[in-house]
Symmetry: C2
Subunit: 206 residues, 2 copies
DNA sequence: GTCTATAGGTAGATAGAC
DNA sequence: GTCTATCTACCTATAGAC
């Protein structure tokens, strides 16, 4: 567990762990200092305030999460390829960072205005128009069933992300441990993809 | 806004508002007292501690939310009727209590063990077997496509609940206000239902 | 840069008057 | 039952030695 990082790096790693675990209000500077193996004073030397430190962490978490959410918007691939790639990559990413979505959602729910300001300034401006038009195109060509593109994308993201947000609840109900749930989510990739395909694909038989 | 409730009732209403808004760690006893129009001392007179007060609130919130999640498990209706009723009622309920899911999920993520203990004691024991077997039956009869019943139910719940959990994010991206988003969720009922039907229904043409 | 010590503020909880 | 005043503990942040 020994990190060969400089002090600032160790603080960031520790802070991320604590903030993600406890949220902003629940996190204690003392706990972050302990986890980083330094003392409280030094936290304020590197990051002037708790708020400052949190901003760094949140923006990092958001920046890891968001691009993967919206990369689906920008790609040039055909629709079905896009869906397939998205489900595969997104669930892989969330499996490696299972607590990120709940953290980001929790903080956004509690300080929406403040955080959206930060997000804006960090240059985050997703443009779903390309994907929306691509979906509408496929509908017009008769390749997929008519559906509001926003709902389609929301359905896809919901099915990928929600099981991670509700993970403790799910594991408790299914009575499974971490490894089993990871396996469950892996197998879920194909399930989601087939589910979506069946939902939108048009019958070729007349 | 004047409540003709006794003091205990006013405290509960105020506490629910504050806890749901700020979460356990973020909520302040002072703020709850202010919101109830009483003073701090009285809070401890009625509920011995913050933890005690929180338990009452959380159990109430969970009890409101959970039965509607699992009523789908118990009903005797045919599968498609069940799906239809669930989507309709659940989204109606969440529209009236839009912040409940995020609150429950957030607190469960932060104190899983403690809260599951409370939940167990409150007699919450969902039995999904009935629904699982009903789905397997429909698959065997060839009425719906083969799918792991757990995934099917999870898909349904994800599409209903996630848009509320991620509501601030969604409203920010779609640039819509509360009323528009409520309208969006209303129209979503039919979208989800048709989406699921298409996903699982078997082609009658050979 | 890193530490210890402490200031300054606020939280939850209690005591006691009315 | 309801209030005010206060206790104790803890948190963020700062000051200052090394």
């Amino acid at each position: 567990m020994t990190k060969d990082l400089d002090t600032e790096g160790r603080i960031l790693v520790a802070a991320k762990r604590v903030f993600v675990r406890k949220g902003y209000t629940g996190a204690r500077m003392q706990e972050i200092a302990d986890e980083a193996g330094i003392n409280k004073g030094l936290l304020h030397y590197y990051f002037r305030s708790k708020d400052n430190l949190f901003s760094s962490i949140f923006e990092e978490a958001f920046r890891e999460l968001a691009p993967r959410t919206i990369e689906i918007f920008e790609s040039d691939a055909p629709l079905f390829t896009k869906l397939e790639q998205f489900v595969d990559r997104y669930i892989d990413f969330l499996t490696e960072h299972p607590y990120l979505p709940a953290f980001v959602i929790q903080e956004i729910n509690q300080h929406p205005e403040a955080l959206f300001e930060k997000i804006e300034k960090s240059g985050f401006r997703p443009n779903p128009m390309k994907l929306v038009m691509q979906i509408q195109m496929e509908i017009q060509k008769g390749n997929i069933r008519p559906i509001n593109p926003i709902h389609l994308v929301l359905n896809l993201i919901s099915m990928c992300v929600f099981p991670f947000v509700a993970r403790p609840m799910m594991q408790h109900m299914l009575q499974v441990g971490d490894e089993d749930y990871t396996e469950f989510m892996k197998s879920r990739k194909d399930v989601i993809l087939e589910f979506v395909k069946n939902a939108i694909m048009v019958n070729r038989e007349p």
